[in-house]
Symmetry: C2
Subunit: 308 residues, 2 copies
């Protein structure tokens, strides 16, 4: 069986670990969000790709959900001593090595997809991980606070401001000119089923769907989504702040409608969201908390069964 | 009093600490060797400038003589896990932060002299530290081993091969086109005395003297050198391997002749080298081991007195 899954960071990575357990013989291709990518101190950082890579490769900080297990922060502390900015992004020492390798390869002319493949040669995540695009498509957030109305990088809104300032708009700068990375459209074309994990529907899944050609490639495939909203609240993270920004209610019903019946064939919701419905989409309710690997594998299994 | 001192790495830095103690009211300008500089993993590393900066700024690993006190090596270990080369250079985590700041500033267009000044704003070394040049002048070593005759970067010979393969030639690539960094010639012009610490006479002091204009500026100044050779052996390091490469004996006499009477006015040697002599140079013997700060300050004081 060939499975394609889109993925953001923590939620997507955890779901993928369950999926790998649920379908050990499947060929899984993961299309990762790169809208959150940022250059810090000259180093190219791809938070979502790395979270997927570290989680599936056994290097993730399990408690935190992102970054490396047993991480240290000597470089960050020294950069602060030099007074250089930004100091709000938590770059760990081990993590920095990944960014150094990536930055060098990008500088040598390799596209991000080739770099990601090279990094995965170490991590052996058990899936094929492809960035959504090799082009620069960067999520910016329009806010209006004491410093005035302006667009800031997604990471500044998410990490520095912790999404506490309302987002007036969320824009994927460069989306129009971005092309899917090599292999993305091909993998979708060959897939028996495409899964949308409970990643952020706006700045993770929504971002990937904005790359011209990706949503179109998905339209005639069997696509099953797992709701990131349970009982009116995000399972994890600040998806509500993102949904509010695009005028969508924080509910399993509203996200289902956001994705739409042209994209989705199946929609998994939590027990408390039983009743959610949309013409043309088969909705199924069940346990949706990814409390451990077994529970997560059961969710992935339910998604695959719904696809049949 | 205005003092200019040339400087390499460990030996130069330690001498400078003594000099600062011996002449607390003097304005000291240090012209640092940058021939050993190297770009590793996309990061610009200036080993000698950093050794001077860390030593005088109180951040040096005292036992090792280079690198940061309390250093960790998480980034290096991770880079090795990725299998990227070179793995023979011991980049520490704290040290890497310095290189990140430097690389970013160089990338933004600042010359190395401005970058060094910015880094020193944190370290407050108590001297004005200027690189010998803002241009690229890189020490290469011609060797002939099992892999054939070839020129390698100085650091590869020094650190990876530990100077165990004889150097056929030591070449400062780019020297002809390099200009002294802003302030170098001016500081020499205004100096009451110029000191040559017991740094490596070939790849540290010798390198600085090869930048067109520096040796010339020194010729009509009072210049006093401290012999890096005691009783036929380098006090520290592998100066003998470098001297052999340029056909000079490892002795206080031979280094005195290498520098020459046109450059030197005074030459400090160890007790066991009493008898060393050259027309036009006042030679004085005394204790020359920089065992602690008091001993080092005494050597610096002797050099300053010899200059009078």
């Amino acid at each position: 069986m060939r499975i394609v899954s889109l993925a953001g960071g923590i939620g997507g990575a955890r779901f993928l670990r369950g999926l790998r357990a649920a379908a050990p013989d499947a060929e899984i291709t993961v299309i990762g969000n790169t809208g959150d990518d940022i250059t810090l101190f000259g180093l190219r950082v791809c938070p979502d790709l790395d979270t997927v890579m570290y989680t599936l490769g056994g290097g993730i900080d399990e408690e935190q959900g992102w970054g490396r297990a047993g991480e240290t922060h000597a470089v960050k502390a020294e950069l602060a001593e030099y007074g250089v900015e930004p100091q709000w992004f938590g770059l760990g020492d081990k993590d920095i090595a990944t960014h150094i390798v990536r930055t060098q390869m990008l500088g040598a002319g390799y596209p991000l997809s080739a770099v990601t493949e090279a990094l995965c040669a170490r991590w052996r995540p058990g899936v094929r991980l492809i960035p959504m695009t090799d082009d620069r498509a960067e999520t910016h957030v329009v806010i209006d606070d004491a410093d005035g109305r302006r667009a800031i990088h997604f990471q500044e809104w998410w990490v520095r401001l912790r999404a506490s300032v309302p987002a007036e708009q969320i824009i994927l700068v460069g989306a129009d000119d971005a092309k899917p990375a090599p292999g993305v459209v091909e993998a979708i074309g060959e897939a028996d089923v495409v899964l949308l994990p409970p990643s952020n529907p706006v700045v993770s899944i929504g971002t990937i769907l904005q790359i011209p050609g990706i949503r179109e490639a998905l339209l005639d495939k069997i696509v099953v989504g797992v709701s990131p909203i349970i009982g009116g609240a995000p399972v994890r993270g600040m998806a509500d702040a993102c949904l509010t920004a695009i005028g969508v209610e924080t509910s399993a019903q509203a996200v289902l409608e956001l994705y739409g019946a042209d994209l989705l064939d199946g929609w998994l919701v939590a027990e408390e969201d039983r009743g959610v419905a949309l013409d043309g989409v088969r909705v199924q309710a069940g346990p949706l908390l990814m409390t451990d690997l077994a529970a997560t594998a059961a969710i992935a299994r339910a998604a695959l069964e719904l696809a049949r």
